[in-house]
């Protein structure tokens, strides 16, 4: 049992360590404001990583999420700006469209037995291309709804402030937590990641699960794009380049096995927080180049991948010894 939870505990310890290091060195680091900023600054990454967790748990990968973020942002900006739609109406159109896009990729993966890597790579180019076609330039968003949302939030002591997007993100985390660990769909996702052939023979609706899975990932990415647009008040086709890789990194640092079948939503949350904390630490320091965050994250990834390998090797030798 402890083997399953070990990566999770390590990430948790690292989050505490990082926070402790910041708090001991900088005044004002140990404040609610830093924590709430951490959430709002990383909200879009966290939401994307939630979908990525599902996909990776099933043994797949989704490279298209960064482009989907950009596309949904551009689409929202255009619909709200030039086309004068109400933002909520625009969102109500964009989210199902994104889900359809993901379902399409899932269907290709399922029915043509294609590699998720290739299919979502194609999806990545496609979505980025369409976004650039819609508008090469950044489209600004000006709408009373956006202003109202920006003002809405929960005032916390110690300078803390949970804005609407942070609250939405927290709600999504809770939703995904329940969906992944306490719903039948969630167990099917784990089943796919364990062994899709066995899953099929055990009566798991493999096709439906795969399609739903990629649909949710794309929809969460579109949601992240909308959250991102509240953050930047614009939609830009070249935004969120490489976010898919950040999301994958967060999932892996959170202790989810890249081969699928093992991991936790809460791990991904910790992974995102850890990455955010590193950035925050660098910001507080002021003299460090922000590229240090990439270097640290790279090192962490190496560490966690080695850890995974070690654990799964133990697992295999255990199972193999009896075969």
């Amino acid at each position: 049992m402890s083997r399953t939870y070990l990566p999770l505990w390590i990430t948790f310890a690292l989050v505490l360590l990082m926070f402790g290091a910041g708090a001991s060195q900088f005044d004002g680091f140990a404040s609610l404001r830093v924590v709430t900023n951490l959430i709002s600054d990383n909200a879009f990454l966290l939401v994307t990583a939630l979908g990525m967790t599902l996909v990776i748990l099933s043994g797949g990968i989704d490279l298209s999420v960064g482009s989907v973020i950009a596309l949904s942002g551009v689409a929202a900006a255009l619909l709200i700006g030039p086309y004068q739609w109400h933002p909520l109406v625009a969102f109500a159109v964009i989210l199902p469209c994104a889900a359809l896009f993901g379902a399409g990729m899932g269907a290709l993966i399922q029915y043509y037995q294609l590699q998720p890597f290739i299919v979502t790579l194609a999806g990545m180019f496609l979505a980025r291309g369409v976004a650039t076609l819609l508008s090469e330039e950044s489209v600004a968003i000006e709408h009373p709804f956006y202003d109202a949302v920006a003002e809405f939030g929960l005032e916390l002591p110690d300078g803390g402030w949970l804005g609407a997007t942070s609250l939405l993100t927290i709600a999504l985390v809770l939703l995904m937590l329940v969906l992944t660990h306490y719903s039948r769909f969630g167990s099917y996702v784990y089943a796919l990641g364990g062994n899709s052939q066995s899953a099929q023979l055990m009566g798991v609706p493999v096709a439906r699960t795969t399609i739903l899975l990629y649909a949710s990932s794309s929809m969460l990415a579109a949601m992240a794009g909308i959250i991102f647009s509240f953050y930047t008040y614009s939609g830009y086709a070249l935004s969120a380049v490489g976010v898919e890789l950040d999301a994958i990194a967060a999932v892996v640092i959170g202790g989810t096995l890249l081969t699928g079948g093992s991991g936790f939503i809460i791990g991904t949350v910790l992974g995102v927080l850890l990455m955010g904390l590193i950035q925050t630490y660098i910001n507080f320091d002021g003299s460090l180049s922000s590229w240090w965050s990439k270097i640290v994250i790279g090192g962490l990834l190496f560490f966690f991948i080695a850890l995974q390998k070690l654990l799964s090797k133990q697992w295999q030798s255990k199972a193999g010894g009896k075969a």
């Binding site: 049992m1 399953t4 329940v178 306490y182 719903s183 039948r184 167990s187 099917y188 784990y190 089943a191 990641g193 364990g194 062994n195 052939q197 066995s198 899953a199 099929q200 023979l201 055990m202 009566g203 798991v204 609706p205 079948g261 093992s262 697992w315 255990k318 199972a319 010894g321 009896k322 075969a323």
Partner: protein
């Protein structure tokens, strides 16, 4: 038979009639049939490629039949997916445990029909139900631990428990299909399994039991259906069919008696080609003394995990010895990788041909020339013509059933795949051939041919070390049999002592 007549009703619970199934170029099933009554254990027997698995797959919705009918409780049905069959009350436990190692035992039992509370999975209730279900099987394990933490035997029992567990929206289990359930179990575990089967029989479940172990058929089954080449051969009462008749039905010919031939010894009192002294390898082999005489076949017996396979790996350089000495053809050697072993003239046919031997998409020709090519070095390419000659030679010599040498090996039956792997190593012309379970999972006909081949090879002067779980088989060709128990050599039997009973006694040792 009395049990069966007590429980059976006039109409079968499941009837398959005139089932046809075609694959491209192959008629896998022709007019196949099977009748199952409630509360019986029905053995479904036949050689590899007889169509047992195909018939089972049709019955369980994995494959769709091309013709014929399937009656469940006298109603004609069609299953499009495994789920349809499960819903109708037909459960299957496949040869390899087809469960999910990453999920908990409880979740494996109830995946797809988890108990729910407020629309969410109730993990506590699930664990309780799992404990309850497994206790009827005499299993008391931590049901919240991942399945991968348990032995194959436990996993097998969990798979069967899943087969009979109540499922959401499904009829209770009427038919339970067990495809080679005992292949990876030891004798005690087989008895536990049979205990469970008898219990299920009492509850009125019809059990289809597919196996290669004929002794087990006589131990547990009430009736037998025999298939051959995709056709129905006959349906028999187990009590009224003796083993010879059964084998004759399966083969379509009387199996020549292999058993009482003299051991194969080309040279009496030959020099030892390989001598091991006090050989140690971590936990897996301890203080092994072993002499392999040239031109003789030596048998290696023992239970799974006794160190048999480990010895083969050690002698082929796959594992490294950490103590003791080894000499080959009179010279002391040290093996640190298989390439050295191959260069010396040692070859290994591994136990698990699916994962360690066969390269399924490659042709027979390519599979055969692989080892020779590796031995020659990759820069000296074997011409296609030479490969073809080699392949044709061995296809002829080993009677590999294939239209030509270019057929992908993955499309051959188990026995023929095994022959190709043998051919691969024979092509290298080794001095010492290590065969790890060469006859596992292949049909009786091919079995006899492989035993014949082992004898021939000995006569040509090759030395062999053969591991096998089938004791009669070992006595059929070995000049002596080395018995392993708990990673140590416990006996070396030859001459008068060389018979299955003595080997069995040595394997059982003090534990009996």
């Amino acid at each position: 038979m009395s049990e069966q007549s007590n429980n059976s009703s006039a109409t079968p619970v499941l009837q398959l009639r005139q089932i046809n199934k075609n694959f491209p170029g192959v008629k896998a099933l022709q007019q196949a049939q099977l009748s199952l009554y409630a509360g019986e254990v029905h053995a479904l027997l036949g050689e590899n490629g007889a169509g047992k698995s195909t018939l089972v797959k049709v019955m369980t919705g994995v494959l769709q039949k091309d013709g014929g009918e399937l009656l469940l409780d006298s109603t004609a049905l069609n299953f499009d997916t495994p789920k349809d069959a499960q819903q109708a009350g037909i459960s299957t436990v496949y040869q390899e445990v087809n469960l999910l190692p990453n999920l908990s035992v409880a979740h494996n039992l109830f995946l797809g029909s988890e108990p729910k509370r407020f629309g969410l999975i109730d993990k506590k209730a699930m664990a309780n139900q799992a404990r309850q279900l497994l206790s009827t099987f005499g299993l008391d394990i931590n049901v919240t631990a991942p399945l991968s933490e348990f032995s194959v035997a436990v996993q097998q029992l969990v798979a069967i428990a899943r087969g009979v567990a109540p499922k959401r929206g499904a009829a209770c289990t009427k038919v339970l299909v067990l495809d080679e359930p005992t292949a990876s179990l030891d004798a005690d575990e087989v008895q536990t399994l049979f205990q469970v089967l008898r219990q299920l029989k009492q509850q009125g479940v019809a059990i289809v039991f597919i196996t290669h172990f004929l002794d087990q058929v006589y131990q547990i089954s009430d009736r037998i259906t025999v298939m051959r080449n995709g056709c129905f051969v006959g349906e028999y009462q187990t009590a009224h069919l003796n083993k010879a008749e059964l084998i004759a039905a399966m083969l379509g010919k009387e199996l020549c008696q292999q058993r009482h031939q003299a051991p194969c010894v080309a040279v009496e009192h030959s020099e030892a080609i390989l001598i091991a002294r006090q050989l140690n390898s971590g936990q897996s082999v301890q203080q092994l003394d072993l002499d392999l005489p040239a031109g003789q076949a030596v048998g290696l017996a023992g239970l799974l995990g006794s160190g048999r396979t480990e010895i083969c790996r050690l002698l082929f350089g796959l594992d490294q010895a950490d103590g003791g000495t080894l000499s080959f053809a009179g010279k002391p050697i040290k093996l640190s990788n298989p390439a050295q072993a191959i260069a010396l003239g040692i070859a290994l046919c591994p136990e698990d041909r699916k994962t360690e031997g066969v390269i399924a998409p490659l042709s027979i020709r390519e599979n055969i020339s692989l080892a020779l090519q590796a031995k020659q070095g990759w820069w000296r390419v074997i011409s296609k013509k030479k490969q073809q000659q080699l392949a044709d030679f061995y296809i002829e010599k080993l009677q590999i059933a294939t239209p030509d040498a270019d057929k992908p090996i993955g499309q051959l039956s188990g026995g023929n795949q095994q022959k190709v792997i043998l051919a691969r190593w024979l092509a290298v012309e080794p001095k010492l051939l290590l065969l790890d379970e060469p006859t596992r999972g292949i049909d009786i006909g091919a079995h006899a041919e492989i035993l014949q081949l082992i004898r021939q090879l000995c006569q040509q002067g090759m030395s062999l070390l053969v591991t096998s779980s089938e004791l009669e088989e070992l006595t059929a060709f070995s000049s002596k049999v080395v018995v392993m128990r708990d990673r140590k050599k416990v006996a070396e039997l030859s001459g008068e002592d060389l018979n299955p009973d003595r080997i069995m006694a040595a394997i059982a040792g003090a534990s009996v």
